[in-house]
Amino acid sequence: MEAYRNPIILTFVALYMLLCIGVGIWALRRTKSTHDFFMAGRDLGVMVTAFAVFSSTLSGFGFVGGPGLVYKMGMSSVWMIVCVIMGYNISFMLLAKRLRLFAELGNSLSLPDVVFLRYGKRSTSFLVAVAIILGVLGYLATQILAMAIVLQDILVETDFLATISLEMCVVVSCSILVFYSVTGGIVASVYSDLIQGGVMVIAATLVFLTVVYTFDNGFSEISQTIQEHDPEAIGPWGTLGMVGCLSWFFVFGLGSSGQPHVVTKMMMYKNVNDAKYILPVSTIGYLFSALLWIGIGLAMRALVLQGVQPELETADAAASQFLQNYAHPVLAGVVFAGLFAAIMSTADAFLNIGTAAVMHDIPKAIGKTIKNELFWARTTTALITIFSAVFALYSGDLVAILGAFGWGTFAAAIVPVVVLGFNWKRATPMAANIAVISSLVVNFVIKIFKISVPYNIDVGALALTVSLLLFIGISLASEQPELDPDVEAVMDL
């Protein structure tokens, strides 16, 4: 079976892609209006919403970058997972009910739509839409690039496509993504998320078991090997240290409720009461999927230290090397399909909110209306993918800057405005606008001017602290704004 490892992996990836195309064709018949295209008709059930929430949160980073970070730094990046239950608690306690009710009240199609409903100012929804577009460009481009690199890694091992270029891999992977995103919009996206989430949970659990059985004494042997070399690496803070880890705990914990591609799903479920089931299913799904992140990273660090595995060329190769050398070929096939699933589920979620921002939110904010919205939604989806693909291939450092700061920018821009503002009547549009602007300024100034932050405190954590302070401070110093009576009544529920 070992001789057929690559054909097996390729078969699983091809089957998965065919499945995505099938979902796209099926969803085409269910997408008859922009409301279906962006909001899935606000008709989603518990499992679909729950899987869509967690699989959009865990992008390709969880399957490639995550294990690489654990391999390189020990336990440090595990703090991005430790905060997950608290993060989902915050999202559900503050947003799940409120967003769903606002979406119905305003018949909204996007997050900026509900922001306008709450604050009553076009400038606020415009700024939120701009923050979304900036984040989407970077995130989507990095997801497309990751997808193409993984596809190229698989194809170059075959006899017939050994010389395939990265550009061709971008074209192939984007074609699949565009096909099901254009035909079925968010319906295709969330139903493929259901399949993608399932693949991710199964793959991660099996990989974790493989990790444990790779060592004679299981996890204790991994811990001991790492501890003998560097006790701090297997301590709670890894090699990054306490302050840097805690800043991740902060920005990933509180910031998860500010990720527009995730929280938008909370506007789409059918019954408000379903939120109580969606929370545990999302949390458990995420935690199972994250087993791969921790398991592979620690196992590869221990294997390299024991001398069993030659040192890796780059930390990001940890997952692929483990799968190539220690996992059963069928399991490797499932995990590679899971990796595509993780990347595509995040990419399609970004495509959806990016399209809404470009063809619905920004025109609306500047007083323009677009006729035949469904046609233009589909066209915009294809154009954004093409633009992001070109951006990914040819923009150099800019894609890395936008990609790396996507999470922190979203967290700092959206947590105060949406998470707090939707639960506090005193919050003003002026405070919301300044919070969004400050999040962009702090994030980009620190990165562009290469300002060194001690202890590697995450820039997003700094931006989030600043935007929270400005948002609350300005709101407290201002007069209470007048709200739409219906909005005020919903905020009392």
Partner: protein, 177 residues
């Protein structure tokens, strides 16, 4: 409601000052790690923040501050107009938060001991402070999830809320016609 936000604002100011104090304090050597001498793709830890008492306590309070911020945000989410429900929710959230602080303190204390003694005590295959992190810090918030799930109809979205929302929607549709 404004009272919580006034307290939150004050808390955030103190948290901001804490970050400034960390920024201006003397940073221990290689505190964020450096390239391992034998393995170029691995980082090796440097001095920890526990090296000096100033950075040790500033880092400790940085963590306490983050849990405090989570607490304020969760309390904002637990607000209900009905005072009786609000009191019950705040009590549960308060207990959950107290557990979180206790576990955080347990983890940090265990880590301080680990740094001083290089202890090889394990729990479920992990050094003790790491076990506090995984089995404590990660899972304690399930306490809050549990009440969200089991008390949803009593506290989060009651039958009265459902009726009230139906009325709001009905009135809005009438007005829009």
């Amino acid at each position: 409601m404004d009272k919580i936000f006034k307290l939150f604002f004050g808390f955030l100011l103190v948290f901001g000052l804490l970050i400034v104090a960390l920024w201006t304090s003397e940073v221990p050597q290689n505190v964020t790690g450096s390239t391992d001498t034998a393995h170029q793709t691995l980082l090796h830890s440097g001095q920890t923040v526990a090296t000096t008492s100033a950075t040790k306590w500033l880092s400790y309070f940085f963590g306490m501050g983050i849990i405090g911020i989570f607490g304020f945000v969760i309390f904002v989410g637990g607000r209900k107009k009905d005072q009786a429900i609000r009191k019950k929710m705040y009590r549960i959230l308060g207990i959950g938060l107290l557990f979180y602080f206790i576990v955080y303190n347990g983890m940090v204390n265990s880590w301080w001991t680990y740094v001083e003694t290089n202890s090889m005590d394990y729990f479920m295959g992990l050094p003790k402070p790491t076990a506090w992190m995984i089995f404590g810090m990660m899972f304690i918030p399930f306490f809050i999830s549990f009440f969200y799930i089991t008390k949803f109809e009593d506290w989060v979205y009651t039958k009265e809320d459902e009726q009230r929302f139906a009325e709001i929607m009905a009135n809005r549709k009438k007005r829009d016609k």
